[in-house]
């Protein structure tokens, strides 16, 4: 590392006042003779200033999320009202101040249902004609923003015995169709991308496919594992996202 690089790497500490007095003097001496370092310091000051300004400018979500929150609060109350005395795992607050708890089986069931609902969102947002990519929220205020479809309170009250692991693949056909559409569009437009971009896209798709396959294989041996289910849903969503972005690139080049 050259003396110049050494000081460049310490410009943030200088900016934040975290250098010792001796180091600060030495850096200031360097800055007087090194225009590139002085320029970098000025840029860093502007980055920090913009970050601080961003911190005071909160931007609300595009869709109102309250309906989904209220629904989940109500669902927890409904659950709480119907739950019997079980092992203490997680407590929920309701109107009544009494302590309510759920068994691991109940929590696992809820997590699987939520993973399934998320999977449903993944294919739904990728349907042709959807103007923006992956949004979890439906623009319709009456719909559940979390799931992108109508109320899920019934899902949340499902009994463990009613849960089948197949629900994770709830939207397999639609998901596969969405992926196929995007892959076709990408294939059509790939001539508009340079080779390095194509290589990056394909490399990432390969990694994501590996993650999907590994999660599916692991689920065969441990179908009730909520982490694996959520991992699978997330990997599938990422694949759709990457395909959508890559396809968008081909249209940007038009």
């Amino acid at each position: 590392m050259t003396m110049h690089e050494e000081w460049t790497d310490r410009l943030s500490e200088y900016l934040d006042g975290e250098l010792s007095a001796d180091e600060q003097r030495a850096l200031e001496s360097h800055l007087r003779t090194c225009a590139p370092c002085a320029a970098v310091l000025n840029d860093l000051k502007r980055v920090v200033a913009r970050a601080q300004a961003a911190g005071t400018a909160a931007r609300p979500p595009q869709a109102d999320l309250w309906a989904g929150i209220a629904e989940r609060i109500d669902a927890s109350r409904t659950w709480a009202a119907g739950a019997g005395p079980v092992d203490n795992v997680t407590s929920f607050r309701g109107r009544a101040p009494r302590r309510i708890a759920f068994t691991l089986a109940q929590l696992a069931a809820a997590a699987i249902v939520i993973a399934a609902v998320s999977g449903g969102v993944a294919w739904q947002v990728a349907q042709p004609g959807r103007p923006e990519g992956l949004h979890y929220n439906s623009p319709e205020p009456s719909a559940n923003p979390r799931s992108g479809r109508d109320t899920s309170s019934a899902d949340l009250q499902v009994r463990p015995d009613d849960v089948h692991i197949e629900t994770v693949g709830l939207a397999d056909a639609q998901y596969d169709a969405a992926v196929a559409d995007l892959e076709k569009a990408l294939k059509t437009g790939r001539g508009k991308l340079d080779s390095s971009t194509i290589a990056v896209v394909e490399h990432n798709l390969e990694i994501i496919d590996q993650a999907i396959n590994q999660a599916r294989e692991a689920l065969v041996g441990d179908p009730a594992n909520t982490y694996l289910n959520s991992h699978l849903v997330e990997a599938r969503r990422r694949k759709l996202d990457l395909l959508r972005r890559a396809t968008a690139l081909t249209t940007d080049m038009d």
């Binding site: 790497d9 943030s12 860093l44 961003a54 909160a58 927890s76 607050r93 982490y227």
Partner: protein, 182 residues
């Protein structure tokens, strides 16, 4: 702000916190409306816009569940913000393995996607934050946007203070590059 100007606002918020803790969802909705912008901005910057809506909902549901633990020792917004940071960090950890495997390359894609001829396009600052690699992004947001100190970030993320400083500098340099010619 004068005391006379501050008191009614705080009283209203305090009342809503007390009402919400007693089970009043209308009061809780007012707390939500007053704070959702800041919380959603935090989640969007830390996790990306794809995750922000869902995690914001998670945060407010968690807040509802934990309202009984709020003792009023700090402002409600401060307590909520810290709770939100904790939820966001939990979420990040739950996806850590996948992110380690994929994100750097995915973000490399973003760096490649601005054709040279279009480099004059104004790149949105928020979008630039989203393009940062996860480790650098969360520290940039916590330090430069949210105002946490390195020692606080080190505790939150269970990392060394020096790591926090290095990642912050890395993030700033990437932001400088990504925003080219600020």
């Amino acid at each position: 702000m004068t005391l006379s100007g501050e008191t009614p606002v705080r009283s209203g918020l305090d009342a809503d916190v007390a009402l919400a803790a007693g089970g009043d969802t209308s009061a809780f909705e007012r707390l939500y409306q007053a704070n959702v912008g800041r919380i959603h901005s935090l989640t969007r910057r830390m996790l990306g816009s794809h995750e922000a809506d869902e995690v914001t909902q998670d945060i407010f549901v968690r807040t509802w569940q934990k309202l009984g633990q709020f003792r009023g020792e700090s402002a409600f917004s401060t307590w909520l913000h810290r709770l939100a940071v904790n939820v966001v960090i939990e979420k990040r950890r739950s996806f850590a393995i996948q992110r380690e495997r994929m994100t750097d390359d995915v973000n490399a894609l973003d760096m490649l996607t601005v054709p040279a001829g279009r480099a004059d396009l104004t790149v949105d600052f928020e979008h630039a934050i989203e393009q940062l690699p996860p480790g650098a992004r969360e520290i940039f947001v916590l330090h430069d946007v949210e105002g946490y100190k390195h020692r606080e970030i080190a505790v939150m993320l269970d990392i060394a203070t020096g790591t926090s400083k290095r990642q912050l500098h890395r993030a700033r340099m990437l932001m400088r590059k990504h925003l080219g010619g600020l």
